[in-house]
């Protein structure tokens, strides 16, 4: 009797953990552990909420890991269209919060539809190139670019520069891995640099201010420059070993704005020093390395593109956020991946990890 029950449980357990990639899980687990530690210092009152969204995010990870890539591909078009419809709806009826139209109240839920695009965009493009694999033409890149620019333009109009850049990057990585000719890539880089002054004139005032503030934060010590000044002070004063958990004066005296969301790295860096930062960067390095390995070993074009893009998205999150908090990049709303408080981002990221796992576990099944 007991043996029977044990067998059932064991089989169930095996089924449950089967799609999970252990190295990825360990790396993510360590980052999430660090996140919980720093959350305990930055915003202990939000610990409960943080753990709740973490639980949901981990479930999302497990669910995605269990969906084989060929089934996932079927979601590409509906998810993309759904995302576009929601973005248009936001533009028309969205709630204005802090001067930007980003939220949509659907009655039963309130969410930021732009978040969906972070997954839907690479998914659609990876599916698209997968379909065109046998008879690839140069024109495909043009079509892919157009498919990418529609949501990016919609999100940029909200205006939400951070998210639109992330979606743009997500789509771009797919196009890059799909084999965008080097000549075009170099041409794009050159023209991007050349058109920067034109782009400047299209930015919103607040976006320009953020860039100007980056160059000279002391100019606006009570306003925008305050974020950068305070976060660099926090990081710098952390030194090599840091001031110790909950000992950061910058963090605890509330000099750091948004210290549990986008600027959480400043709290971490102040309390755990360069040593902590190196640990965090190493963990991100492992995560990205594992992701690129999964991409390299993937057998279908879809798997390769999707895995490559998702991994590079993790990198982009981390680079942009750390760069911004340490005063290297302008302030855009990009969270520190797996660490910042905020359920939506956490779920998106864990969904990405789940997809990586699924691609890896199913690599044998789709082999020709």
């Amino acid at each position: 009797m007991t043996t029977n029950l044990q067998t059932v449980l064991r089989i169930g357990w095996h089924k449950f953990i089967a799609p999970i990639d252990v190295p990825l899980l360990i790396i993510c687990g360590l980052i999430l552990l660090l996140a919980a530690v720093v959350m305990g210092s930055a915003a202990p009152e939000r610990m409960g909420a943080h753990l709740r969204s973490l639980a949901i995010a981990l479930m999302a990870m497990r669910v995605m890991a269990g969906i084989p890539p060929h089934r996932l591909m079927r979601l590409a078009i509906p998810l993309y269209c759904f995302g576009i419809v929601l973005l248009v709806a936001v533009a028309l009826f969205g709630d204005v919060s802090k001067g930007a139209r980003r939220w949509l109240d659907l009655g039963f839920m309130r969410g930021q539809p732009s978040e969906i695009m972070k997954i839907a965009m690479p998914l659609l493009l990876a599916w698209f190139f997968h379909q065109r694999e046998a008879h690839r033409r140069g024109r495909d890149f043009v079509v892919a670019t157009l498919l990418l620019l529609v949501p990016v333009a919609l999100i940029m109009r909200q205006p939400d520069l951070g998210t639109s850049l992330l979606v743009l990057a997500a789509g771009f990585y797919v196009i890059f891995f799909a084999g965008l000719p080097w000549k075009v890539l170099v041409g794009l880089l050159v023209s991007a640099v050349a058109t920067a002054p034109v782009a400047w004139s299209f930015l919103h005032d607040y976006q320009r201010n953020r860039i100007l503030t980056l160059l000279d934060p002391e100019k606006d010590p009570l306003g925008k420059g305050f974020h950068i000044i305070q976060s660099t002070i926090a990081i710098g004063s952390g030194g090599f070993l840091g001031k110790g958990w909950r000992e950061g004066t910058q963090s605890q005296l509330e000099f750091i704005p948004e210290h549990h969301t986008d600027f959480i790295l400043a709290v971490f860096a102040e309390e755990f020093g360069l040593l902590g930062n190196m640990l965090l960067l190493t963990l991100y390095g492992f995560l990205i390395g594992r992701g690129l390995m999964i991409a390299a070993q993937a057998t279908s074009l879809f798997g390769r593109l999707m895995a490559g893009a998702i991994t590079m998205i993790f990198f982009t999150y981390a680079f942009v956020n750390i760069g911004m908090v340490s005063g290297m990049l302008p302030v855009v709303g990009v969270p520190l991946p797996f660490v910042s408080y905020g359920g939506t981002a956490l779920i998106t990221l864990c969904t990405g990890v789940g997809i990586l796992m699924s691609i890896h576990k199913n690599r044998m099944l789709v082999q020709k």
Partner: protein, 628 residues
Amino acid sequence: MRHIKDDAVLDKFRLRLVVAAGLVLLCFVLLLARLVWLQVVQYAYYQTRAEDNRISLVPITPSRGLIVDRNNRVLANNYPAYTLEIIPAQTENIGHTIDQLAELIDIQPGDRKRFKKLLAEGKRIESIPIRTQLNDEEVARFIAQRYRFPGVDVKARLFRHYPGGAFASAALGYIGRVTDRDLDRIEDADQEANYRGTHYIGKMGLEERYEFALHGITGFEQLEVDSAGRAVRTLSRTAPVPGNNLTLTLDAELQRIAEQAFGARRGALVAIEPATGGILALVSMPNYDPNLFVDGIDSASWKDLNESADRPMLNRAINGVYPPGSTFKPFMALAALAYGKRTPEQAIYDPGVYQFGGHTFRDDKKGGHGSVDMYRSIVESCDTYYYMLANDLGIDRIARFMGQFGLGSRTGIDLSNESVGVLPSPAWKESRFKQAEQKKWYAGETISIGIGQGYNAYTPIQLAQAVATLANDGVMFRPHLVKFITDTRTGKRELIEPKPIKTIALNPEHIKIIKAAMVGVNIEGTGARAFAGAGYTSAGKTGTAQVFSLKGAEYKKHSIHEILHDHALFIAFAPAENPKIALAVIVENGGFGAQAAAPIARQMFDYYLLGKKPSAPAPVVLVEGGVD
């Protein structure tokens, strides 16, 4: 089995992965270099800065700019009052402290709510009010017990005050506590830093429109704080810069006379200086006391204001839309001349009714006016003349001509949320209605447009602008309330330049004819009684706007409930030969324009041109029925 081609593709892909990995590595090295720079190389510097960060910046709210009339009479200022404030960082148990304070001083649940909200938003080192506007006795009671409450103190703060009470509320508006929507506005204007420490913001009227000019620049105090965040001493202080002062085109005395003239009646009045577009008086009655809003209005007063049938919160001057009634006629006559549809001498015969498409349009005068030329049509306000004229002009010409005078479009007055009104046209009807049957314009609808009824609906500010433009021979100005803004620091004045928006192409001869007829109105016509013995020449036109149409029935005033009485209107300017003031006045449910509205205009002109002050609300002049 794999093809060689597949391998080549895979190799290409892997090359790209290597490139991506290289990029990652490069970027991470950059980040690491930056972190090493901050945390190792510059460590000592940032260590000191963090120590210095024991210095906290606390905002000092600037005093809000004053609002004065054209003769420097103060309409909005600030007065000091005591507030009880708590610095959270210096208070052990805030909830307990407030409970103890409540034993000394009356603290309402609303006060606690606001405090909680401000506490969540602000920094723990900033002083947060728990009670505002303490009276002397309360201050004394607290001071005696102050030793018991570390971190709690009485501070003198400036509060907005409107010395005239409800006076000119439609123009001034009011300020109130900052809400989430205001925060969005502040963020959109990129003013977050400047609004740190500001708890009040303009909500309506000039206070809202000129918020960022009135606010001033927030100063700050550098405080040294200990490791627990307690202020140890003040290191330096950057004084706030008071907000800019607004000097209005408004004449407070004229405004007062206008408001008194209404007495207890509802309505609106806008008086404009035709040569500049400067608004001399802007009245919406009943008015309300903006002082009620300054520190958050109590729910009972709010309910009173909002649920009153008289709707005091409605700014009738810019948001009330009324049919212009017969005040439309001078403009119709001008259109007739402009399009060559009538000559001044051409007379029609008015039998008292006008038949069109099987429908009978009645003239107000029983039996009709007989033979009527253009002059008499305005002086006596003959409806039949305009029924016919409307039919001859057609709706398209009427809409085009009236549109030039700004009717049916926002005037651009410096107050927010101005209403558009309705300039009827087939295109408007097409977009306004849903069903195909309703979308169609019927020729019969044009007829009543001719006497200012039908779909016609304009705001008093539009009517005032139109009559001012007529008085000004077609040169149109944007109506505005602010004459100049004074920078309190430099004393420099930013003048609101009275630039003409446009000049309507009109034949000066035609204007002369219309003006002469409007002068006739006040000498021998419907306005004669109100303007008897005025001592100056004025031009006017009475109007009566139907609130609802009485099909076939005789209009008997006393038999209908008061709110169904017609609206009384009057447009006028004076002196006729060199207009210094033009106005439009509407008395809701006042009956005939000649009775209720024209006497208000008389009081205005008497004061503005002759300096005569009336002693009582404008009288209702009795005229024989059926003049308008």
